[in-house]
């Protein structure tokens, strides 16, 4: 017994050693072939309930790669737009390896392991859902492969202290701060009274976390939170919740709701013939085009936060040009997810280029040292620069209001396409 186990042990050591040498050799081999490709694994829900989102993400990520691999002089100073491939890697091209998470955390993790071990990708990008990104991050962490997260917005992703995870987009806490920055300016510049705030949220990770942040920020900034209602989605009725909120008499309601909930909220408010001065929703209300298809004009005057909005493309040359390219591919405009995905690819490619080699640690260091300016991004950010937790600290966003059945940027006031309507008119005067 003893002898066998010792032999087994030795065998194990040898295999592990060989594997270790193998992975140590890998970057060197890749580097030995100038002009070869850089492999990036992209993880998105390509089938299942979120397949449509996955498909849009696929178009966006491919466009990002196309901008890097091709020559788009008119897109300068967007990173790597003006030259072909990655110049510091001998013009190497990015090659995408796709994996379908099916919207499921366990599948996402298994696919990430496959991409890393079998497909030997140099970096990962994805995965839209926070829950899937969380498990994929574990695989990235275990193998030491950089993971770029363009859009998943749960604050916990960057609070867990992952070494290999970098998020370019804002998290929900930052979105909450953004909402309050907006409210503050509405009070100051538009002289509206906002003191009492109510929160209405669904009760899983997304809603409950967003509700917690909203209450924390509201109290810190001196507002009084007069109601906080959590419900389970999809709800059969939200009458009880909204009756209580109305009874508390808030000036502003902040919602963290999914699409079906947003539709029900709209209908219930109409039935109650009540609308707060302002209703600001995290998501749900900006689910294009499903929300407006379902509620039509009743969606008017809801305000939502967005990482990006089509209106922004009219104010920003690069955003407009990239949107044009996206439109040519797909027939529809970029949205807040796809815009972040295109940008995510560019940030990742920029870091790999600066690393100058395909060594994972070098890429990680290059990501950590990313310095992009406001004029090098297609979103309303001050640039890209990661903090110690891997979160881009220069993010920003816009506030959008539904007016005449269209999403219009209403804040920041200097890039607004339409005048903010606050307080919203009552139902009988619409």
């Amino acid at each position: 017994m003893d002898r066998i186990s010792r032999r087994e042990f030795l065998k194990g050591v040898l295999t592990t050693g060989a594997l270790g040498v193998g992975s140590w050799l890998r970057p060197t081999l890749a580097f030995a072939q100038p002009g070869a490709s850089v492999r990036v694994g992209a993880l998105y829900p390509l089938s299942g309930a979120l397949a449509r989102i996955g498909l849009a993400a696929r178009h966006a990520v491919e466009l990002g790669v196309e901008i890097v691999n091709g020559e788009y002089r008119e897109l300068r100073p967007l990173p790597l737009a003006g030259e072909r491939g990655l110049p510091r890697l001998g013009g190497a091209r990015i090659e995408l390896v796709w994996a379908d998470t099916r919207g499921d955390p366990a599948t996402g993790r298994a696919e990430a392991e496959r991409l890393i071990e079998r497909e030997r990708v140099n970096a990962l990008i994805g995965c839209w859902q926070s829950a899937v990104t969380a498990t994929v991050a574990l695989a990235a962490e275990r193998h030491g492969v950089p993971l770029l997260v363009p859009e998943a917005s749960s604050p916990r992703l960057t609070e867990r202290g992952h070494r290999w995870l970098f998020r370019t987009g804002p998290h929900d806490g930052m979105f909450t701060e953004l909402i309050f920055d907006f409210v503050e300016e509405v009070r100051r510049a538009r002289r509206r009274e906002v003191r009492k705030i109510a929160v209405l949220a669904e009760d899983t990770e997304f809603g409950a976390t967003a509700a917690g942040w909203a209450m924390g920020v509201a109290q810190r900034r001196g507002y009084s939170v007069v109601a906080r209602e959590l419900y389970t989605s999809p709800p059969a009725s939200l009458t009880a919740e909204l009756l209580r909120i109305r009874a508390a008499g808030p000036d502003l309601v902040i919602g963290a709701n999914y699409l079906v909930d947003a539709i029900l909220i709209t209908r219930t408010l109409k039935e109650m013939r009540w609308f707060p001065d302002a209703f600001i929703g995290h998501v749900g209300f900006n689910n294009v085009p499903d929300y407006l298809n379902a509620v039509g004009r009743d969606g008017n005057y809801f305000v939502t936060r967005a990482a990006w909005a089509p209106g922004y493309a009219k104010r920003n040359r690069l955003a407009g040009a990239v949107n044009q390219l996206f439109r040519q591919r797909t027939g529809y405009d970029l949205d807040q997810d796809t815009a972040r995905e295109v940008m995510g690819v560019l940030v990742l490619a920029d870091a790999i280029n600066r690393a100058g080699r395909l060594d994972a640690e070098a890429i990680r260091l290059a990501l950590a040292e990313t310095r992009l300016r406001a004029d090098q991004v297609i979103l309303p950010w001050r640039g890209v620069q990661f903090d110690a937790k891997g979160q881009n600290r220069l993010v920003g966003g816009v506030m959008v209001q539904i007016l005449e059945g269209e999403y219009k940027v209403v804040w920041p006031f200097d890039v607004a396409e339409a005048e903010l309507v606050w307080p919203a008119p009552p139902w009988d005067r619409r």
Binding site: D290, N293, R297
Partner: protein
């Protein structure tokens, strides 16, 4: 006080809709002791049917009722002939697995056909009516009225027509009914037809104020079960009483105490009922 009154009235209207959703579940359960776990999926499909009639054919959801309800009667009849017939006398576990499987088949068929998107009917200038001083959306009030009418109609059918009486006989004892020459098999198919037709009616009434997606059945299935248990297994009037109780309970306690806990109240009463009065509010002991 106004808050309580508002919550009570809208709870009662909601309860009438719950009742109509539960009616078919209760009927099928009562007649043949089969628990149809796929019940709420028929609701979802009927909502889609009504939605598409509205979106493509410009048919008002209320006007779609005469089309949707008979089609789903046929659908229910067919489900019985193709699937349920084979499991009527099978062990309970087999019945549960069969209808649970049916749930997935119907749900993912909807995913395949319509995608995961959410659809809703949107009508310009839809108004509200005042019900006992509380504004209620016209479509919701109409749903309440039609629901009541459906209950009255079904009760009359069961009590006064020959087919209705035969259905009750089949429910009481399969063997005795057979010996009296009642075509029990046809009665079972009839109960599936009526059961699915009534949940389709609920779907057509819901769509003007409730959105549809392939998983929307989840919002209603448990509530329907609770209604049936609360009112009394297999009783048509039980579904009405149960649905009303749950609508009221949910809205009143939700508004007064905490909406977060509203489903907890519903299921606390559900469990309490099973412990104290397992036959339900209207049921007779020993069934």
């Amino acid at each position: 006080m106004e808050l309580v009154w508002h919550a009570a009235v809208s709870g009662a209207v909601l309860g009438l809709v719950y009742a109509l959703v539960s009616l078919g579940l209760s009927l099928i359960w009562g007649v043949m002791d089969v628990v149809n776990l796929a019940h709420a999926e028929y609701l979802m499909l009927a909502m889609y049917a009504t939605y598409w009639l509205w979106a493509l054919g410009k048919v008002d959801p209320l006007a779609a009722v005469p089309v949707v309800v008979p089609v789903f009667f046929g659908f229910g009849w067919l489900t019985y002939q193709l699937l349920v017939r084979r499991i009527v006398r099978a062990p309970v576990a087999a019945q549960i697995f069969a209808t649970f499987g049916l749930l997935f088949v119907l749900r993912y068929a909807a995913f395949a056909a319509f995608g995961p998107n959410v659809y809703g009917v949107w009508r310009l200038g839809e108004g509200t009516v005042s019900v006992l001083g509380v504004p209620v959306a016209t479509s919701k009030a109409a749903a309440g009225v039609v629901s009541l009418a459906a209950f009255l109609g079904l009760s009359a059918f069961l009590r006064f027509t020959k087919a209705g009486k035969a259905l009750q006989a089949a429910a009481q004892s399969r063997e005795v009914a057979l010996s009296l020459g009642i075509p029990v098999d046809r009665m079972y198919a009839l109960s599936w037809g009526i059961g699915i037709a009534s949940v389709a009616l609920a779907g057509a009434l819901l769509i003007p104020f409730y959105q549809v997606s392939p998983t929307i059945g989840d919002a209603f299935l448990l509530v329907a079960f609770a209604s049936v248990v609360l009112g009394g297994f297999g009783r048509v009037d039980g579904a009405l009483v149960g649905g009303l109780c749950i609508g009221l309970l949910e809205n009143l306690l939700g508004t007064l105490l905490s909406p977060t806990l509203k489903l907890l109240f519903v299921f606390a009463v559900f469990v309490l009922m099973l412990l104290v009065r397992p036959q339900g509010l209207l049921g007779e002991p020993g069934r």
